[in-house]
Symmetry: C2
Subunit: 242 residues, 2 copies
DNA sequence: ACAAAAGTGTTGACCTTACACCCATGA
DNA sequence: TCATGGGTGTAAGGTCAACACTTTTGT
């Protein structure tokens, strides 16, 4: 394969994305089993082209991994310790294995570029997990949705990045009405509540939760959803876009 | 003067700082009258050395401009539009005037480096304005404390950066107890209130404000301050560091 | 005595929380 | 008819804003 074009990218600046999804009452994150090292897990990330904004870079990386466009994306923090990459033992693994992986594409110069010090801009994305068809990148052995409560040890400072992403999500959730990005088009009130419970990791009282949500005036009530369960059929709701 | 050492810094990555102070019931910001162009105002900023973290870079720039250390510093947003520098008319001014300013220090290569596309990390700082002795950098004609309500037209996207800095300050103010960084060691309750009013640009009811502040349990009441005014002498308070 | 502002106390409105109650559905 | 969960209503408690009242100081 042809040489990786380091000239196309800003050097020493990268972005990593925390892609949140929601399924089966669990907040999940799309992470990558890396091809390098042993049992190495990383966040989907990438570099910033000299010709694109950082938002475009984040959207591009997201599109590459999820095949989705127009996704809710938010930057939340910059990770800029001078040793976050260079000081990591995993970086030595990269230095060794990158040329073995593809000597033409990752020659000495490119390998040095990739394993140099990087400042990383953290983004988080909120997606409807059912719409995602994960597409692995050239460094990914596979991609996997993992419950936020079951995140493995990750390389570099990626566990820390995940921690800050959840903090930011929690903080933004009740300011802006972004939670619905994690749900399908229509949903029951219980599903919204379970989503909030998964994110905040705490229980809410159903009656009060319903009242609070409806008072926001952002949900329109649709027909009832017949579940077949031996109880009253819940209403379906849709998020008003206005 | 000797050549500017672009090799010491990460290229295409910069930081700008919004340095907040408080004086005479006004929230103020330290801005720089630039030596280049006509009536050009910029935020104090700098580059990130390859050997320092972004926090260290921010602290270094702050120390250079205020001669203060251990200042409250917080990153709040990255500004990454591809045209924020290159698309700005002011960048053409820089291209012309930098070599004229000092042809040895800013040769063709250095000028190209400085006027290339930059991604900028925004930091804000909170300082006791009385402790600051502004020290201008090599590009500053002078530094000036300006009321936030009286900010001039600034170059690049620096007005936008200021806007986001105030947003972040307001948001952080009631989460963490950071406002006291803008006040001297001791202060009256009225002064705290006027500070909050300056930041939020709205009035508070004195009795309720006092109650709320005291209920936070972070202030210790000291002796009274005899002002000489024909009214009850207010207490002085100090922020508990614990 | 009076004006000015500090500081305390009181009241009512509003919002949140807990929980009782009724409703629809299938076994 | 009963169990189950959906949905509504209500009362108690807490928080917050408005404002009255007392206190201290200098004129």
């Amino acid at each position: 394969m042809k040489k990786f074009e380091i000239e196309d990218y800003i050097s020493q600046l990268s972005m990593d994305s925390v892609i949140f999804g929601y399924e089966q009452k669990e907040l999940k994150v799309l992470i990558s089993k890396f091809k390098f090292g042993q049992d190495s897990w990383v966040l989907p990330g990438g570099y910033i082209k000299k010709t694109e904004s950082i938002d475009q870079a984040a959207a591009r990386v997201l599109k590459e991994r999820t095949n989705l466009e127009n996704i809710y994306l938010e930057q939340f923090r910059v990770f800029g310790d001078e040793n976050r990459i260079v000081g990591s033992p995993f970086n030595e693994v990269m230095k060794k294995e990158l040329p073995l992986f593809d000597a033409e594409r990752f020659d000495e110069e490119v390998t040095a570029w990739i394993t140099s010090r990087f400042v990383c801009i953290g983004f988080y994305a909120l997606v409807d997990i059912n719409k995602v068809h994960p597409q692995k990148g050239e460094f990914d052995e596979f991609l996997e949705w993992r419950s936020f409560k079951d995140i493995p040890q990750m390389v570099y400072d990626h566990n820390e990045i995940l921690h800050f992403a959840l903090e930011a999500l929690r903080q933004h959730l009740d300011e802006k009405l972004i939670g619905f990005n994690l749900l399908p088009e229509t949903f029951t009130m219980r599903e919204v509540q379970e989503l909030y419970e998964a994110i905040y990791d705490k229980a809410f009282t159903p009656s009060n939760f319903q009242k609070k949500m409806l008072d926001l005036n952002v949900l329109e009530r649709l027909e009832k959803k017949f579940t077949g369960a031996q109880n009253k059929a819940p209403y379906l709701y849709r998020f008003k876009k206005n």
